[in-house]
């Protein structure tokens, strides 16, 4: 489906009333709000803890890069750094 650029995000979100319960909040820590705000535009933040066991800093770096370059996440360089630091500190469970 092609998405008309003029449609506001809110209207698009309402188009999918799935009634899934809110996922548990992300862990407290510096960068949590920036991470929550940016990631939750397109997906519930439970994708973060779900992937934590597979992730280290390098993994999250690739993931953030993929979201920006492949999935077009409108995340500034500075915010991307904040998100990467937050994820690497709080959700890097690889080998753990």
């Amino acid at each position: 489906m092609s998405v008309p650029r003029a449609l506001p995000l809110l209207a698009l979100c309402i188009a999918a009333p799935l009634r899934a319960a809110e996922p548990p909040p992300l862990r407290e820590g510096p960068g949590r709000e920036v991470t929550q705000t940016n990631c939750a535009v397109c997906h519930s933040v439970e994708y973060i803890p779900m992937n934590a066991p597979a992730m280290d800093r390098v993994g999250w770096q690739k993931s953030v890069q993929k979201m920006r370059e492949r999935f077009g996440a409108p995340l500034s360089e500075a915010d991307a750094q904040v998100v990467l630091d937050y994820l690497s500190v709080n959700y890097a469970g690889k080998g753990g």
Binding site: M1, A20, E46, Y47, N51, M55, F71, G72
Partner: protein
């Protein structure tokens, strides 16, 4: 929300051993509209798998069938106004068709087929790989009814240079910079008599979350090609350049057996295609206690890419010797095959029962995982530890 752990403990305290509890990923059960309680892997986009109990019947009920989406905008389509566009540079007579016409103008075809997500069992990978951490339930077996894709395509008068059919559905991304979920099929697979545009599943209209009002059914191939909420088919003389073809759903070249999809090959990776031979024990979970005199059977399902299941074998001696399990009714070569092993003949005490399936094409479930970056094709031999008293 009730977690599956709580439910299992509450219902059968101590049923699972501490060790298997520690290994099991956290599971939360939740109902979406029109769906029974499924295991929630992620809420938006929705990714929910079928609990083991839902995989026990020969046909997976529509309300139990797994839900898998890449993108979070999922419009509910009105079957009265929905239409499918058939076009592309290699369609000399492009046209558009309504659901009523799709049902009326083409001879209906019906078949049983397993729909299995490419990433089913990704959560069992060690080391873990990123992606939806599926357990065993991103799959199901259903009776699909619809028009043959080849009949629908032929009406568009295909040009000789036609190479691929590019398929799009109504679900889409939240922001316009995210690539839409578009997949293609090689022309020969699109024209295979088993490939359907299905409008019914197990005798009922498709559930919204399984692709209503019409979806592709590509028996023997993994679920990524089974486009839901189908809206557009483009017959093209070139390879589809979608992110979902060129970057996603690929496996290392030469790593797995499967149909060629030559127009999408590159030297390092090829598109995932065929489902690998596999099986699942559905009657018992690890650590279950069984009374030998209760007449119980260990039972489950075995499936493959449509070559058909040749034999299902079990071992109770640490995978040294194998005996044939009893096979159930043949539901068609793309459906799964039920199997059963009487537990009366199994030695008492702590027993590990392993099960492996072999396909008529000679392939057999392996002992070892072929590690690949996206976490596909886990068809390792599985086992359950039973306490037989």
């Amino acid at each position: 929300m009730l977690t599956r752990r709580q439910m299992l403990l509450g219902a059968a305290g101590g049923w699972l051993t501490r060790r298997s509890m520690a290994q099991a990923p956290a599971e939360t059960l939740e109902s979406l509209p029109g769906k029974a309680q499924l295991i929630r892997r992620a809420g938006r986009p929705p990714n929910y798998e079928t609990p083991l109990a839902g995989l026990v019947p020969a046909f997976t009920a529509n309300r139990d069938f797994f839900v898998r989406y890449h993108l979070a905008v999922i419009p509910e389509l009105d079957p009265r106004t929905w239409s499918l566009e058939i076009g592309g540079a290699s369609a000399r007579r492009p046209y558009r068709i309504s659901l009523t016409q799709l049902r009326r103008d083409f001879e209906p075809a019906e078949l049983t087929a397993v729909n299995q997500c490419s990433g089913n069992r990704r959560g069992l990978f060690a080391p873990r790989v990123p992606g939806v951490q599926w357990g065993n339930g991103a799959m199901g077996n259903a009776r699909w009814r619809g028009a043959r894709l080849r009949d629908v395509l032929h009406r568009a008068d295909l040009a000789p240079e036609a190479l691929e059919v590019w398929c799009d559905g109504a679900d889409g991304p939240v922001i316009p910079t995210t690539p839409d979920f578009v997949k293609s099929l090689p022309l020969e697979r699109a024209l295979d008599e088993s490939t359907l545009i299905a409008y019914e599943m197990n005798g009922a209209p498709l559930p919204h979350l399984n692709g209503a009002p019409a979806r592709l059914v590509v028996p023997g191939w993994t679920g990524t090609y089974w486009m839901k909420h189908l809206t557009q088919l483009r017959v093209e003389p070139t390879a589809c350049e979608s992110f979902w073809m060129k970057s996603a759903y690929r496996v290392p070249a030469g790593a797995f057996k499967g149909s060629r999809f030559a127009s999408q090959d590159n030297p390092d990776t090829v598109p995932i295609t065929d489902i690998l031979v596999n099986s699942l024990i559905t009657s018992h979970v690890d650590g279950a206690r069984v009374r030998a005199d209760a007449g119980e059977s260990l039972a489950g399902k075995a499936w493959d890419n449509g070559a058909g299941i040749d034999v299902v074998e079990y071992s109770v001696d640490g995978r040294r010797s194998w005996r044939a399990a009893q096979l159930g009714r043949d539901l068609g070569r793309f459906g799964w095959r039920e199997f059963a092993v009487s537990l009366r003949d199994v030695p008492r005490g702590a027993v590990e029962v392993a099960v492996r399936a072999r396909s008529r094409d000679g392939s057999q479930q392996p002992e070892k995982l072929t590690v690949n970056p996206a976490g596909y094709h886990d068809n390792r031999v599985q086992s359950v530890r039973l306490e037989i008293a």
